[in-house]
């Protein structure tokens, strides 16, 4: 379960795309759109690539089309569970 993606890790990944966001804010507003945080499609592609490298496995192909932190975290964690 240590592989689970947390809002803390997501916030740190968003920082690498130049988006500074408090994990508490992601947790309290998980359905806000990535767009509203300023994260664009390339930024999300970068996050997906980095996660795939960290976890050593591919994420579902629609991971880079997620619109919100909740959608993304759920999809990543579900795929990690079924993959395990």
């Amino acid at each position: 379960m240590s592989d689970r993606l947390t809002m803390e890790e997501l916030a740190a990944l968003m920082k690498s795309a130049g988006i500074t966001v408090d994990p508490a804010e992601l947790t309290s507003r998980p359905d806000s759109r990535f767009d509203d945080y300023g994260l664009d499609s390339l930024g999300l592609l970068g996050i997906v690539g980095e996660l795939e490298n960290r976890r050593g496995r591919a994420l579902p192909t629609d991971a880079d089309r997620c619109k919100s932190p909740r959608e993304f975290v759920d999809l990543v964690n579900n795929s990690l569970m079924t993959g395990a």
């Binding site: 664009d40 499609s41 390339l42 592609l45 970068g46 690539g49 880079d64």
Partner: protein, 423 residues
Amino acid sequence: MTGRRVAVTGVGVVAPGGIGAPAFWDLLSNGRTATRGITLFDPDGFRSRIAAEVDFDPTEHGFTEDEAARADRYIQFALVAAREAVADSGLELDGESAWRTGVSLGTAVGGTTRLEHDYVDVSQRGAWWDVDHRLSSPFLHRAFTPATLASAVAEQTGARGPVQTVSTGCTSGLDAVGYAVHSIQEGRMDVCIAGASDSPVSPITVACFDAIKATSANNEDPAHASRPFDADRDGFVLGEGGAVLVLEELERARARGARIYCEIGGYATFGNAHHMTGLTAEGLEMARAIETALAQARVDAREIDYVNAHGSGTKQNDRHETAAVKRVLGDHAYRTPMTSIKSMVGHSLGAIGAIELAACVLAMTHHVVPPTANYETPDPECDLDYVPRTARKHTLRNVLSVGSGFGGFQSAVVLTQPKEVRA
């Protein structure tokens, strides 16, 4: 403008599946595809492992070993295409006309293939940040400066007027030709060797498009991987190549009895100020470029006989430009064939705009529209006549070629059959 008009008097092409304008046209008019598994390097481990490559041996084209070492592959393409175009036009430069002759060539990524090759040596395969200059090759500086492209062609041609290299991503080819057209119209030059060249099939470029999933991953069926406008398209297929046109002030061309293929009467480019790689669904900025180019050429949107599309085969691009063309042509869009030769020769980044203009020039000569190869399944968002798989006879008086590039560039060029008197 001043009333000076611009004629195309020579064409030269180095394209995947066809070196030289006749071979290139043979490929297009027969709807053959030149996409295949990458052979220029071992693509194992990459997401997209396919490309449209040129089977090009520099020694067969007269380069000595030294010359080949000095000129990167993309420059070799340009030199061969320029030689063909100049010979085709019968252009001869003397002391005075050399100063009135310019060069305008586009490239998106320039010498990156050579830059990467030498990087591997000087960094010991990425082990060092503090690279060692003693391990580099003697012509590395020529790869570092993309200006080498226009410079090499100017040297070969003898041009001494304005010589420039243009790099606006994937519209570089259209923009390099467009700048040349405007410069001749303005009277800054009388003749211009204009076109573009790129040889981007290298690990770093393939990897960078892998990272943003812009390229097709249909590695199992490379020959059918480039599927512009098709519902099952999954990205573009990287290509390489170069094309050069000889552009000439119309009266000058007539006075020397040159063969006039067509005129280029309009060019415009705008930024979409939206996203470096993303496109809107509406295509307003491309529509604006088309309208502006048409107005310059004094061609009505309903007089367009053929649209040579950017048609890269990404989901967003093909939808974007279909919307843009419909916005300007209205109902006439449904009666106008619109095709993407990238289905056959792939997407050679900065070069493709010039290769597509060469295709337009040849299409107007033959009155044949090259097809969109691989097109099978309609996409509801792309509902125009894409001329599936088989070329079509069609009278071509006015032709539009459009392009989109990373950075938001949206460009359009209008070609017309030469007319004695323009309304």
